[in-house]
């Protein structure tokens, strides 16, 4: 089973930091990692990427690896430039106080029931 980014937002599990320009895209999996080069090479396209890195390069990696959204866990904040770039590139940026594993588990439960 999959769901759309819009449906994920609708569950209200995560704070919406920036709404992307394509909320109808599918979330087909989850990827967790903070090392950007690893995320770059390994994050599947259309996955929800859970990380604590909230800098401008996070958005570059999200765009190029073509993930469906970024979830900042552990209360990590997106800095100003990250936020501006997310808006400019149309990347959906969500946030939660929960740790990385729990945040990923929420999405997993939604996708796989």
């Amino acid at each position: 089973m999959t769901m759309t980014v819009e449906e994920l937002i609708g569950k209200e599990l995560f704070k919406v930091v920036a709404e992307g320009d394509d909320l109808s895209r599918q979330v087909t999996g989850i990827f967790c990692c903070d090392l950007l080069s690893v995320a770059m090479g390994r994050a599947p396209s259309d996955s929800a990427w859970v990380t604590v890195m909230g800098n401008v390069n996070t958005i570059a990696v999200a765009t190029l690896a073509d993930v469906s959204c970024v979830i900042l866990a552990e209360g990590a904040q997106a800095d100003e430039m990250c936020l501006a770039r997310a808006r400019q590139q149309g990347v959906t940026l969500l946030a939660t106080e929960e740790p990385v594993f729990e945040a990923a588990l929420r999405v997993h439960e939604l996708i796989h029931g």
């Binding site: 080069s37 770059m40 090479g41 390069n57 996070t58 765009t63 190029l64 690896a65 430039m81």
Partner: protein
């Protein structure tokens, strides 16, 4: 699209806020000319890694991208310090990136291995104290 389209980008040194702009631009141009999403992803990943390397290790440089009907060729030329030990640099996990770069989430030692993994051909020419030129090809 019988002709070769050539794009060139100047990469500024030490500017992490702009790193990725060239790769993003190439990505959107490839989309416009109808290249497959799988090939676009390969080019985007390989080029971004190269771009980041130029920002971290070299004094910036120039990237040329040639798009032909059969392949996409990326030529990344910098005037940086050169790579003393290519075999070691190619090992996943080997990194010489400074701590401030690591704190941004880079420096995992995955740059060159990712570039190799996502391209069909990769060639490194490097001379210590002169610079490095990396040529990568993704076949269409």
């Amino acid at each position: 699209m019988a002709d070769v389209i050539a794009l060139t980008y100047e990469i500024s040194p030490d500017d992490f806020t702009r790193a990725g702009e060239a790769s993003s631009d190439v990505k959107s141009k490839l989309k416009q000319v109808g290249v497959s999403p799988a090939a676009i992803r390969k080019v985007a990943i390989a080029m971004y890694e190269g771009e980041i390397n130029m920002v971290i290790h070299a004094e910036g440089g120039k990237i040329t991208v040639e798009i032909s009907p059969t392949e996409i060729k990326m030529i990344l030329a910098d005037k940086g310090p050169g790579i003393p030990d290519i075999d070691r640099a190619m090992q996943a996990g080997w990194s010489t990136a400074p701590d401030e770069v690591r704190s941004l989430g880079f420096g995992a030692g995955m740059g060159l291995p990712n570039m190799k993994k996502y391209t069909d051909e990769m060639n490194i020419e490097t001379t210590l104290g002169v610079g490095t030129t990396i040529t990568m090809i993704v076949k269409l």
